[in-house]
Symmetry: D2
Amino acid sequence: MLRVGVIGYGYWGPNLVRNFMESPHATVVAVSDFDERRLAVARTRYPTIETTTDADAIIGSDDVDAIAIATPVSSHYTLAMAALASGKHVWAEKPMAASVAEARSMVTAAAERGLTLHVDHTFVYTGAVMKMRELIDRGDLGELLYYDSARVNLGLFQHDVSVIWDLAVHDLSILAYLQDETPVRVSATGISHIRGGQPDVAYLTAFYDSDFIAHVSVSWLAPVKIRQTLLGGSRKMVVYDDIEPSEKIRVYDKGITVASDSAEARHETLVSYRTGDMWAPKLDATEALGAEVAHFAACIAGEQVQRTGGAAGLAVVQILEAATRSMNGGGAPVGL
Amino acid sequence: MLRVGVIGYGYWGPNLVRNFMESPHATVVAVSDFDERRLAVARTRYPTIETTTDADAIIGSDDVDAIAIATPVSSHYTLAMAALASGKHVWAEKPMAASVAEARSMVTAAAERGLTLHVDHTFVYTGAVMKMRELIDRGDLGELLYYDSARVNLGLFQHDVSVIWDLAVHDLSILAYLQDETPVRVSATGISHIRGGQPDVAYLTAFYDSDFIAHVSVSWLAPVKIRQTLLGGSRKMVVYDDIEPSEKIRVYDKGITVASDSAEARHETLVSYRTGDMWAPKLDATEALGAEVAHFAACIAGEQVQRTGGAAGLAVVQILEAATRSMNGGGAPVGL
Amino acid sequence: MLRVGVIGYGYWGPNLVRNFMESPHATVVAVSDFDERRLAVARTRYPTIETTTDADAIIGSDDVDAIAIATPVSSHYTLAMAALASGKHVWAEKPMAASVAEARSMVTAAAERGLTLHVDHTFVYTGAVMKMRELIDRGDLGELLYYDSARVNLGLFQHDVSVIWDLAVHDLSILAYLQDETPVRVSATGISHIRGGQPDVAYLTAFYDSDFIAHVSVSWLAPVKIRQTLLGGSRKMVVYDDIEPSEKIRVYDKGITVASDSAEARHETLVSYRTGDMWAPKLDATEALGAEVAHFAACIAGEQVQRTGGAAGLAVVQILEAATRSMNGGGAPVGL
Amino acid sequence: MLRVGVIGYGYWGPNLVRNFMESPHATVVAVSDFDERRLAVARTRYPTIETTTDADAIIGSDDVDAIAIATPVSSHYTLAMAALASGKHVWAEKPMAASVAEARSMVTAAAERGLTLHVDHTFVYTGAVMKMRELIDRGDLGELLYYDSARVNLGLFQHDVSVIWDLAVHDLSILAYLQDETPVRVSATGISHIRGGQPDVAYLTAFYDSDFIAHVSVSWLAPVKIRQTLLGGSRKMVVYDDIEPSEKIRVYDKGITVASDSAEARHETLVSYRTGDMWAPKLDATEALGAEVAHFAACIAGEQVQRTGGAAGLAVVQILEAATRSMNGGGAPVGL
């Protein structure tokens, strides 16, 4: 039974605590937050959990095996490094750190101490994303051609990170899981509509050595909530709509065939179109966080290989950092 | 009664001929096409129309007041210049020309001869786009914040122009009509999945001197047809879905309020969210091309001011050309 | 080449003429209508077709092999009987006649003269309905459990027949094709919101000897257009949405399993639920009327067996007549 | 502070307990259930609540002001009568009783003792239904013409009541709130697909003295979940889709105009169609049960008039009982 201390009981922390508590593999022994009122809420729900405003007390406690960090990004590095130094495994919210340098140090520190550093790329543990990975692994999609995602809604504006760090991070974590190749170059554009604020509407293109391309549109200023991703393959294509209550994944037997070597094709490329059935596979409806908690415990126990460890988290932060640089340059490409 | 000669009877030409024929303001006297079989189709439908494979014969004919050009982009310039030289008014399909230099020459030639050069930005004449303009003019949307459009489907791949020239041109023509400001810089990315082919998936960001930003996603490789545009204003926001049979325009009384000068706001920007009713105004259901034909005739008669004349067409080609340059540079911004 | 005379060039007649004209198996030689203006429209489109206000002239003509009747229901009987008496094959719009007695006489007259009496149950020839029949024939749906359809919109109010004869007739024709069993009893309810008018909102339940049940909701007073049918089987279930541009048919691998003979089930029926994938088969996109014209010609040539002949048309009229009677009795069941 | 004892902690009981506990107007002092395991769940969540398998102990307790009954319908009467006899106010789940006789006795008993008998018609307290009532009250819809609802899904099959008592009860409770008129006659049809089971697919038409008609389709055997209601008025019409995450209510400015007294109308009724904007008002997003708990407490305190008291509950049971009788008679109308 993994004993976890959770730092941060704001927006996401309560989900972590609930899932650790409901897991047969883990339990929460302590929660910390700057805000006494948040701790009162935690105590009402879980009278057995110890609460404190002092994160260091939890990090240093002998009753704790792992530290889950659900605080603003800027504090991840300091808290994670202290936890690792104290011999604790770490569960870090995404993005794992505020810079590549920080993320790299965290990966190194965990490796040196033989501790598990887990990054909470929650979407990777959903039935929908796991189904897409399965379709890829089975060869159903053929060669991957593109990933194109729109992730927009009204709010929540943040003042320390841009909408790319807040929303595109989800797509980058999904991509890191689905696509074995890593991008070589990024171009991003965006704008802030608030004086002195972070970009609230932004676009990111990631280039790869192959013909694959990834694009993500994110916004805090959209009147409707959209969570739609197109994943194109040479054999089949997927529409992944996370707003759909069921049938989140639709697989289209559609595509093109290029007759590139026929006699006629000398003069013009002949593209023909293929359209067949659509198919919506039943998805695993288990709550993603519950599966992720089990995976975290199994990784610590040496029973599973990390699916979203520090390396995956670092890869995502590298793209985020490059995208910020590109966005400051009006879209000028930034190599990775 | 305007006497029109139509050059090109392929995909779009028949729509032009039908609308000119059904208009009380115009009639078609001649049609030309390289393909005799296409001309046979035209003759069956309209026994009174003269047909020829010789475009110049129509351009030079005294029975014709105006030439409508519905051929591939590469031939627009030569045909339009000949028509203008022959004293004919010109209706050019979009994009109006293959380069800024060509488009500029066409505009100059038309101006010098006092002829009407019309560019067929069809969407500008739809009930949906006219309603958006009306909402802007009435101040309902407030200050425009962004335009974000997805225009994707499977095919039709073209081998002479990229998907930006084929599909994004629609959004750029709508933007040129809705937004009085013109962009100052463009960043575009894209990729071709066919050896030696044109980019088939592409993304374009247009920057303006104000806080407005425009973004267009286009693709010939999507398994589903999407025609969705978000138009954000400081007061209200529009979702324009052209696939919807009715209710193409939805106006959301949603937005943010920034408390930028309060005492608390010294430390952090306070953004609050406003959500109210949604409203789908009834749209004019007249076929856009019919209204456009009437407008064309009225412009020639000096009764109306051109809504999509050579200047609007040129502005669109300028962005297309810059976008192509940016796309070749991996997204590096190109000034306008 | 079948030579057809078309009587009635109002709402549906033009579709018949176009499809007969475009068919390699048939041609239209004459069209009649009471309204000279409608005939003028026909002549403009098809200069070769003879037009007349005298239906009898067409019925008696030696140049005509078959008569297509696209007039109001009340006149079907007289026109069809005259055509059959004149040795012509008949294509009758649906419902085929205004009463069971009329329909029965028509069937008898055609049989006696060895002529083909075809009823235009158009939906039977759509890709969607043919696919449902195919799924049933393959056993994919298992035993049929229910058919439940909503067919509502605003208008078009008719003053000679109720909304059941106008709209439910479509569902009854589909049912007659999909379900080999025929109903034994009908209950219908409805109301007219116009003084002295026909019922404009109505509901019809058809009972069968088996556990199958069919229900149809129809309305001329709905603010939105709905064309949605659920077809439930013991193995799979279909949602057929005719408004969908593509994916009109969705097959759900869902259902129940009844453990009726287990020990526990002595006390309570144990129902367990099964949910699996959803699948939207690609449908034949051919225009239904075109396929139907080819079928009509083939039936006359003795090459195909009638799919929607007089017997199918009669079965539908029997239900319509019984439904009217039940509706007048406030829903009291009427045997068939 | 109202002290509540809750009987039944199965499917709905936990929602009641949560809302009573979170209300500033009420608290739960005791919970009973036959199943010890359910009580264990309740204790874990609410350590302060007393639990027992003996409902009578709660009913007789002096610490309790009101009894909430969330047990199967068959037990409502006995429990409610005991509670009223013990001087307790009663909150009964819907339908309030298994027969009209039972419901009437409950109403009488509550009246005699001056106690509040509340029926949990939850939908009446939703933002969507309250908005429809508001639209009616303001005259926006004009004269009500029809209510047409589909409420279908897969499961949950019940073995003591039919799908009408399980699902149509929701629509009847909404209708009782929206429509001041009460129905005079009911016709219902339905079928059971399980040997010895209750009808699992059913249809109900309610007739009124006016031109208003109500129809409800319910099913436990549908592959998809549908919760769609059309509410037609002479001025505007509403589509209420409870599956929609937002915009559950859409108001259509559509309808017909009947020119019944014009000269031309002597010969045929002239119906013209009116189509205008659509409007989706923002809805109150408060949880319905929370508002209902506050209302219950206020009714007991004599501060509010009951919105869904025993009379409303009785009216619903009357229709349910008549519908069952009509269904047994194959749709034969049953007066109310």
